[in-house]
Structure formats: C-alpha cells, structure tokens
Amino acid sequence: MAAIELRDVTKSFGSVTALDGLDLEIREGEVFGFLGPNGAGKSTTIDILLDYVRPTSGEARVFGYDTQETPTAIRERVGILPDGYGALGRMTGREQLEFTIEARRGREDPDAILERVGLAGDGDRQVNTYSKGMAQRLMLGMALVGDPELLILDEPTTGLDPAGARMMREIVDEAVDRGATVFFSSHILGQVEAVADRVGILYEGDLVAVDSIDNLRHTSGATGGVTVTLDAVPEQLDGAITGIDGVNSVTVDTDDSGQPVVDATCTAPAKGNVVKACFDVGADVRDVDTREASLEDLFVSYTGGDA
C-alpha cells in the first residue's frame, strides 16, 4: 500500500489555482522531498493530506484512508510539522508535549523529547515566548510523539540554525531506520539532496518531475561541467572545445593568480573530451576540476529559470 496517494487533485482558492491535477504516489518507507518555489502549492498539498483544506476535485489518500472521510485515522498515523503553526494557548513547552502525548496515546517522557530536540531547560517557558527556531524544534518533537508511521514536515528547517538542521536530518534518519515514511517540503535544495530518496518538483501547482536526484540529473539535461586551468590559451582552443558533442557553453577567464581558466558546461561523458581537447591543441594543463549538476541547475531547467 502507498503511504500517500494523490489522484488528479485540484485545489482552487477563488480564481487562483493552487494545485492543478496533481498525481503523486509515495511508497512506504521512502524519504520524499517535495521541492518548489514559494507559492508552488507545497503547503496546499500537505494541508489536503491532513484535511485542513478540501480539494476542489480529485482524491487524496494516506495509508489508504480518504483524507476527507477519515481524517482522524490519518492523524493517528501521521506526525505533522505544519506550516503556520501557533502555540497551544499559553502552555509551556512541557505542557504542550504532555498534551500531545495524551492526545496521541504515546508513552514518551516529555523531558526526554525536550532533550532530544535541544530544548532541555526551556520546558517551563511559555511557548509564546519561544524564538522561531525553538518553536520549530518543539513542533518537531511533538511530531515524533507516538512513533508515527509517516512524518509530514512542511519546510522543517525554517528558522533552524545549522545544529538544528543537522538534528532534523538525524530525526529523519532515525524515523527511516524504524521503517517510517518521510514526506517533506523545502525550497532549500541542498537539504533535499542530503536526505531524500526521491524528489518531486512542484511548479505552479503542477508536478513537473518526480524521480531520484540522479535520474533527474540525467533526464533533465541539466549538466555539470569541467574547469581546466592552463599555462596559456592557444588560439584554436575555443573552437576545439565548442565542437565537442555534449558541450553547452565555454568561457575563458583568468583565476586569482592570473592563470587562464577554461570553464565548459557539459554532460558527464564530454568532460574527458574537453580535457583531451586542451592537450590536443597544445596547452599545458595545470589543474582539472569537475562538478556535477547541482539541484539548483535541475530546478532551473525544470522551472524555466524561475526559481
């Protein structure tokens, strides 16, 4: 059974279409990164899964449960870090955890969770007075109560410092180790790359790509490149490189120490040919540096540079 199943889900707010015929299936046990610029519909998708928002048409299921018919069955199985959350009245951090543990029928010790998310010592403060990062840590802790089968995290690293971001990644890893599924959204590409098995790119309410990052790289044509540092630049160099199959563009520049640097954006197989071409035209190669397409390149290639 799929952990999450979206079938032709459309959601309009008045004249604005937030989601346009979204189809998506997430298998149990996978870490799925949901990527897209602000306003792409990521939060709307998550809101539909938790039944905060009703789809205009289409069907959404979590572990086979229809989101509108049996939202509480879903909420029992899902740990959620929602978008735009607030404190539970004037509760302290510990009171909020105690309430969550009671509501989710968990057996956790509130203090152990506080410690886990780096809030030991802040449990007696009102959540109202927490900083954004502290509130985010607490919400993560609350999402873990009762060992949910599915973690849904909406922009989980917002407001977190680097240590907090690392903690978030550890939490995701631990959840995966015990067999949970993780679905998270982000517009920060590096973090998705670090933890996700598969990535979906959402753009203007439309899922423009779903695949592993490697495959996305391969199929999108978003390319890496190679940088070759030379002694001097022979005249025919530029023409020799641009003629190679798989090379998109070439720039010749000088680095900080005044050495000429040739930078070619190209597919992986073309990288070696670029270096070979440099030798062939008689240049003295000092250094070679290759790079892979970043998720940013991928993103730009799918969304038309509107990231």
Binding site: T72, I80, L88, G89, A103
Partner: protein, 284 residues
C-alpha cells in the same frame, strides 16, 4: 477525544486568567446583590406583614435581575473567540494534526466553556447567598438552587450560540461583532421591531399577518425563558422587567412553558449546528 479538548479549554481559562476575572466580577456583583437584600431586610416588617410577605422572593428578584443581564453576555463573549482565535493563531492546525476531528474541537469548546460559565454563574449565587446569610436575612435555598440551575442552562445556550459564531467565521473581529450583535438583538428584541416594520410596509411588504406579531415576539431566548420560568413560578414575573418584553396577552398558547422550552432548544442547537457545518466545510 472531545473531553481532552474540553479539559484543555478549562485549563486555558485558568492559564489565561479568564476564569479568575469572570469569577471575580460575578462574585462582586453577587456581594452587592446579597448586601442590597440583606441590608434592607427588616424582620419587624416581615413579621408585621405576616404570611403575605415573602422576603425570599425579593432576594430571588435581585439575583434573577442581575443574572439575566450578566450571564448571557458573559457566556457568549467567553465562547465567541474560542475556535476562531485558534484558527487565526495557528493553534488549530496543531490540534488537528493530532487525532482530533473538527467536531471534537467544537464539542470540546462548548463543554469547556459551559464548565467555565457554570463556575462563574455559581459564584454570583454563592456570593450573594453568603452575604445575605451573614446579614441574617432568610435564604430561600431550594428556589435559589432551582434558579441557579435555570441560569446555568440559560448561560449554556449562549455558550452554544457563541461557539457557533466562533466556528462559523474566519476573523476574530467578525466573531466579536457578531456575538455582541446577537446579544443586543435578543435584548432589544429586534425581531419584534422587524415584524412591526414589515407590518407597516417598510420594505414594500404587503399582507404581513398582524396576528403573527405576538408570535414573533415570543421567539427570542429571553422571552422564552420568561415564559418558561413565569409559567412555573408566576411570582417572579416582576424580576424579568425589560428582558423578554411584555408578556403576551393575545396569543397565550405561545406563552406556554412548553413552547418556551422548544424555543430555547432551538437557540441551543441550531446556531451551533449551522456554525459547525460551516466549520466542517471550511479551508483553514
């Protein structure tokens, strides 16, 4: 699960000091009411009047007058923000991320607020009785308890209306305005005013049945409460004063206590149900 929400709601009223303020205010009013009665009570007059004079009725009149005015406004105002406030501050998405349904949230809010208003109304009665007893004035204990029950129930109706409003709207300002509006609408019996305007053809209306005017007049919760209470215990009629309007003379069947109970049940259930339906279908 709604019980957990209800318990949180009561705990919230303590954390947010609403319970303290409510209890304090109502206790002060109770103290004043008890003092007015106890201070004016003269055993000599009571004795001279023999069995004709009922000091307990005087006491009940003062308390009923105060509770009629205060209990509904306190109840509706305590309730009107509970859900919409959570919605606007992001608390609702956290609660609905736990295994609560929207119905749990509505039911829990009603139950929690009924508990809070019950405590507050009880304080008024207790403080008044305490002071009167200290001043050695006679206490009509059984009747007092009966009226406490009546006003706890009456306040619960306004909690229900307030929660219905809170569930129906998305803005806290709108909820507050609607709550005050409902209260004033009932107090000033705008429904009778509207009926009179219709009769006079104010909106180009024609053939509006005059006979139904007294019917419209009995449809507010205050009139209904008056009809129920005075039907059972006519002596207290004077305490209602302005609230509920003139007792009906033309269509007496509508002033039956049983009809009043139906009207009260309507106000207890329908606004809440409509608010719940809207909430159930809303995008948060």
């Amino acid at each position: 699960m709604w019980r957990l929400i209800a318990r949180k709601d009561v705990a919230d009223s303590i954390r947010e000091r609403q319970l303290h303020i409510g209890v304090g205010l109502f206790a002060v009013v109770g103290l004043i009411a008890g003092f007015i009665y106890g201070d004016n009570y003269d055993p000599a007059i009571a004795e001279a009047a023999g069995g004709e004079f009922d000091p307990g009725l005087q006491f009940l009149g003062i308390i009923v007058g105060a509770a009629l005015f205060l209990a509904p406004i306190a109840a509706i105002m305590l309730a009107q923000g509970r859900i919409v406030d959570k919605r606007s501050r992001g608390e609702l998405v956290v609660l609905l991320g736990m295994p609560f349904s929207r119905r749990d949230v509505v039911l829990g809010s009603v139950a929690g607020r009924v508990a809070v208003t019950t405590a507050v109304v009880t304080c008024l009665f207790a403080a008044a009785t305490g002071v009167a007893a200290l001043l050695l004035a006679p206490i009509p204990l059984l009747r007092l308890l009966a009226f406490l029950g009546v006003f706890v129930a009456f306040a619960a109706i306004f909690v229900s209306i307030g929660t219905g409003i809170s569930a129906a709207v998305a803005s806290t300002t709108r909820a507050a305005i609607l709550a005050v509006g409902f209260y004033l609408f009932f107090v000033f019996r705008i429904h009778t005013v509207i009926w009179s305007l219709l009769l006079n053809g104010a909106y180009g209306t024609r053939n509006v049945p005059t006979a139904l005017r007294p019917v419209a007049a009995q449809l507010g919760p205050f009139s209904a409460l008056r009809n129920v209470v005075t039907g059972i215990y006519p002596d207290i009629t004077g305490a209602f004063g302005y609230f509920g309007g003139r007792p009906p003379t033309e269509t007496t069947a509508l002033a039956e206590p049983a009809v009043g109970v139906v009207v009260l049940a309507f106000w207890a259930a329908v606004p809440l149900y409509l608010g719940y339906l809207r909430f159930e279908g809303a995008d948060l």
